[in-house]
């Protein structure tokens, strides 16, 4: 022990533990301060973005992020009755631009199309075609009506 240090001061001396704790506290607070402006900035940008997007388009925002032609969902919502079931199928005319986009077609339409419930092709009352060739009999399904939206995009009622 250093004899020059008054004994009364020993009780006030900062221990190694407290010193390291202070360092960790400084690191944690520093990280928080580093994040602070960015967090507020991100939240404000998000709030502004969502505020400027009409309610009916908010649900389609992520589908647009996958560069999907999201207009098919509002089109389908006009045709498929709220109590009906539907299946989403894709095909060679889809021309997807991003990876996983084929999976995203069915996923990102579900919330927009509520309360219509998705199901598999064998049990669906309607089909939303994203690039599938409905007219050429490849699906072995008979349709009572087909509504074309754009080339490659259509909604069809299955004849059962």
């Amino acid at each position: 022990m250093d004899a020059s240090v008054p004994r009364e001061a020993l009780g006030k001396r900062i221990s190694v533990t407290q010193g390291l704790t202070a360092l960790l506290a400084a690191a944690a607070v520093g990280a928080g301060l580093w994040a602070l402006p960015g967090r507020f900035g991100t939240v404000n940008r998000e709030a502004k973005f969502w505020g400027g997007t009409p309610v009916h388009l908010r649900l389609l925002q992520e589908a647009a992020g996958f560069e999907l032609r999201a207009g098919i969902y509002p089109f389908a919502a006009q045709i498929i009755p709220p109590t009906a079931t539907y299946a989403v199928i894709t095909g060679p005319q889809a021309h997807f631009k991003r990876a996983n986009a084929a999976d995203a077609v069915a996923g990102f339409g579900q919330l927009y199309l509520l309360p219509r419930m998705p199901t598999d092709l064998a049990h669906a009352q309607y089909v939303i075609s994203y690039g599938a060739l409905l007219r050429y009999g490849g699906l072995d399904i008979h349709f009572s009506h087909i509504w074309n939206f754009k080339p490659g995009l259509a909604v069809a009622e299955i004849a059962r």
Binding site: L24, A28, V29, V43, R58, Q110, L111
Partner: protein
């Protein structure tokens, strides 16, 4: 959001609040207006957890989760929660800690950051809808199926045909409750409800720590929680990871506080939250059991009589779901073959996956861009406090390390392509671990910052002399 959405959301939260207060009243945690104010967040959060579990059980029993059923469940839970009040005495009132001077300023700044940031976040949540893939593809469609089809069913166009049909249904049940109260299927109403639950979660953490952690540590600590970018990303996401992280995190915090106080009331709160966690996702049960096991290890199993019910609660309450999925032949679309862990030859053959998981997963857990420094600081603090609070140190290490190894084990035994699996899931699945660390930080800092034994005067005489006022 429409005015009806707002009214519906607030009505559902009023119900949760009543249920939660009844539970806390029965436990003796809330027997005065002052304590009611302090525990308002815990009451709402615990009520939300209780109603969520009961609603899930009701769905399994064939209920439709109609509004009257939710209200009846809540009434029953309120009566049952308050019933023990006659026998359970009020908790010994421990005054909350207060500050003066510079520490007070630090506490005020921390609290201001929490409040201002959460209010800012409210502006976002009232306008946004979730864009998370899993929420779009199965979490919210499951909730919609509950509402549209009046319960859970199997067959075409039901939850059976959606991704992960074997996942427990706490999160879809909660969304369905929100929709029952709003009377529609407005997806844009949900993030605000999630925001309210997140606020309750933070207020609950503050209430649990208020008599143990100085405000100068507590409020900056909670500010760090809300500022974690990935935590903000969870709020309103409608992912199962969102309730899982909050329930496991707050349950672990209640357990951590119990280590210091040994108040059994905290274990009941912990048990409620862990049981709800077991109903959120498949791994929720494992996370809940890990918390209990680490409490047992930290206490060397001495209080096993109170820990045993805590261990059994999540298991017993999740059994009905497991029975229902088995009876209805629900096949998981992304099942993790945990049984492979018992086959050394399979594990050896997949050792490449293990090295990949061990190399890649830690980066997500300690990513400062997602979780700031919550995990590394918590681990290092646990090292520092080992000499004075070995129980809390071991508890913290165990939760962090074993939860991490659990994640790695899943990647190891799964058959999914490892790189894609890690990239698409690791940012989410580490959230429970990171949120738990962030919640434990104020408690760990509080212990570490306390005067250590070696800094204390050596003799009682010296201690008296130092305590005496200067002449």
């Amino acid at each position: 959001m429409t005015p009806r959405d707002v009214a519906g959301i607030l009505a559902s939260d009023a119900v949760f609040l009543v249920v939660g207060y009844a539970l806390l009243f029965g436990l003796g945690l809330v027997r005065s207006w002052v304590r009611a104010l302090r525990f308002v967040g815990l009451a709402l959060f615990a009520g939300w957890a209780v109603v969520g579990v009961l609603a899930s059980l009701l769905l399994v029993a064939g209920g439709s989760l109609a509004l009257w059923e939710v209200l009846a469940l809540a009434a029953a839970a309120t009566l049952a929660g308050a019933a023990p009040a006659r026998r359970v005495p009020a908790a010994r009132p421990v005054p909350v800690l207060r500050e003066r001077g510079l520490p007070l300023a630090a506490a005020v700044v921390g609290a201001a950051v929490v409040v201002v940031y959460l209010l800012d976040l409210l502006r976002q949540t009232t306008k946004e809808v979730t864009t998370a893939w899993d929420a779009n593809s199965f979490w919210l469609p499951k909730a919609a199926a509950i509402v549209v089809q009046n319960g859970i069913h199997t067959g075409p166009a039901t939850i059976e045909g959606m991704f992960n049909p074997d996942y427990p249904i706490f999160a879809p049940a909660q969304e369905a409750i929100s929709w029952r109260f709003t009377g529609n299927l407005h997806v844009e109403a949900l993030p605000t409800q999630h925001w309210i639950v997140a606020v309750a979660f933070l207020a609950a953490a503050a209430a649990l720590l208020a008599d143990r952690v100085r405000p100068a540590i507590l409020w900056p600590g909670l500010a760090l929680v809300v500022l974690m970018p990935a935590f903000e990303g969870l709020i309103g996401s409608s992912l199962g990871d969102e309730p899982l992280a909050m329930l496991l995190g707050l349950g672990a915090l209640a357990g951590g506080v119990w280590l210091g106080s040994r108040d059994p009331r905290l274990l009941v709160v912990c048990g409620v939250l862990l049981t709800a966690a077991a109903w959120t996702k498949v791994e929720g049960l494992w996370g809940a059991l890990l918390v209990v096991v680490m409490l047992a290890v930290a206490t060397r199993l001495r209080p096993w009589r109170v820990l045993l019910p805590l261990l059994l609660a999540p298991i017993v309450f999740i059994v009905p779901w497991r029975v229902w999925t088995r009876d209805h032949h629900i096949v998981s679309s992304g099942a993790v073959p945990y049984a492979n862990l018992a086959h050394p030859s399979l594990l050896w053959a997949a050792r490449g996956r293990l090295w990949t998981a061990l190399a890649d997963t830690p980066g997500y857990l300690v990513d400062p861009g997602a979780w700031l420094l919550a995990v590394p600081v918590a681990v290092l603090l646990a090292v520092l406090i080992f000499r004075v609070r070995a129980d809390l140190a071991v508890y913290t290490w165990g939760l962090v390390v074993l939860a991490f190894l659990g994640n790695v084990a899943v990647y190891w035994v799964s058959a999914a392509p490892i790189q894609n699996y890690i990239e698409t899931s690791a940012p989410r699945v580490v959230s429970s671990n990171a949120v738990t660390c962030a919640l434990l930080l104020p408690l760990l800092f509080s212990v570490a910052a306390a005067p250590s034994p070696e800094a204390q005067p050596a003799t009682p005489g010296e201690r008296r002399r130092q305590a005496a006022p200067a002449r």
